[in-house]
């Protein structure tokens, strides 16, 4: 569990989902963030011709939709539960209000975003190695 998830836990709405539940789709406006407490979530890209490409699998402790909420962007991938999952949801306004003016919570956000960036670089190395 990340420290930010601890800080924000009182604002989360907890839900259990079966496998195959779509959390958000590519192009959607972010409604908020999902904290993964257990299970796995597939993050997937889709091409113009309908082809899909797995980006990565998110696991417990990770927060989905963070960069989109922070930078006010639409989701650039889709998220679907891969297994049964326990997820916490925090709507965007509540999330931003909680982190605003608090460097310590912000720092946790920065650590999570940094991990997301590094995951992308890992993914790029894997794709390049596989070609």
């Amino acid at each position: 569990m990340t420290s930010i998830a601890d800080t924000l836990s009182e604002h989360e709405t907890y839900e259990r989902y079966g496998a195959g539940r779509v959390l958000f789709r590519e192009g959607d406006e972010p409604r908020g963030v999902y904290v993964v407490h257990s299970g796995q979530v597939d993050l997937v890209f889709s091409g113009k011709n309908g082809s899909a490409k797995p980006l990565r699998v998110a696991e417990d402790g990770q927060i989905l939709g963070l960069s989109c909420v922070v930078s006010h962007r639409r989701h650039d991938c889709s998220a679907t539960t891969k297994t049964s999952c326990e997820l916490g949801f925090i709507d965007r306004d509540t999330f931003l209000a909680q982190i605003d003016h608090s460097p310590s919570v912000w720092f946790s956000v920065l650590q999570l975003l940094s991990q997301d960036v590094n995951s992308c670089y890992d993914c790029m190395r894997s794709i390049t190695a596989a070609k």
Binding site: F45, G47, K48, N49, S51, K53, L55, S67, C68, V70, S71, R73, D76, C77, D100, H101, S102, P103, S104, W106, F107, V109, L110, Q111, L113, S114, Q115, D116, V117, N118, C120, Y121, C123, M124, R125, S126, I127, T128, A129, K131
Partner: protein, 239 residues
């Protein structure tokens, strides 16, 4: 007195005339003063290696002017350019925040001014200044989405010509200049570097550019590429 490499050098962040246009530096006066008090200004020639993948983080670099390429290497030793960083970007932030080795290498591809902030000073700034945190978060988000775009291009493109077409279209969208001959792109990268951006070989890039030229989709004059048939490139792209 002429400045090094004819760069318009800004020694003081608070007096920088382009600060308002830059995502990270466009902070309140008090926050940018805090940045200014801990930064070291440097001017670097083309080809300067700022940090190397695997090296423990010494701090961050704010790219004030010029451009830099960010590269990573696969376990097989293939080099991939993950991004061409533009003025205003912060380099090395994720490693500096996590205290883990740099995930990429950074090298200037033209003369550049960079402001360096030592890791301890940067972490102290983030610990005391929520606005600096927010601007850093925006920088990291930008890096994340840029990396996602690259993964999409690398992973979903069916052919190398599609990847090259997509790269040219991205350049048109970001910095293309409309001319009577077509959209002019100033390309500072070698064919080898273009190959490293799309995960192929230099020979393939040279062959594909010649092919595009033969079909009158593009023309090449020195370091400029003119995109004459943008629609033809768009039909090649499926993502």
């Amino acid at each position: 007195m002429p400045s090094p490499y004819n760069l318009d050098i800004h020694n003081t962040c608070t007096e920088c005339t382009v600060r308002a246009e830059r995502l990270f530096c466009n902070m309140s006066a008090s926050s940018i003063s805090a940045v200014d008090s801990i930064k070291f200004t440097g001017v670097y020639p083309k080809g300067s290696l700022l940090f190397v993948e695997g090296e423990m983080p010494r701090g961050i670099f704010i790219l004030c002017s010029g451009r830099a390429k960010l590269t990573t290497s696969s376990t097989e030793g293939k080099t991939l350019i993950v991004k061409i960083a533009e003025p205003g970007e912060v380099l090395g932030a994720s490693a500096t925040i996590l205290g883990k080795p740099y995930e990429v290498s950074a090298e200037t591809i033209e003369p550049a001014q960079l402001n360096f902030i030592k890791r301890d000073d940067f972490l102290k700034l983030l610990g005391a200044n929520a606005e600096a945190c927010m601007h850093t978060a925006q920088q990291l988000s930008e890096k994340y989405h840029s990396a996602q775009r690259e993964i999409r291009s690398l992973g979903l493109s069916q052919t190398t010509s599609e990847k090259l077409a997509k790269l040219l279209l991205d350049w048109c969208a970001r910095g293309g200049e409309e001319t009577a001959k077509g959209i002019r792109l100033k390309v500072l990268l070698t064919h080898e570097e273009i190959a490293q951006m799309i995960g192929t070989t230099r020979e393939t890039v040279t062959r594909l550019l010649s092919d595009f030229k033969r079909k009158k989709i593009i023309d090449v004059k020195g370091s400029s590429v003119f995109v004459m048939e943008k629609a033809s490139l768009e039909t090649m792209v499926s993502i």
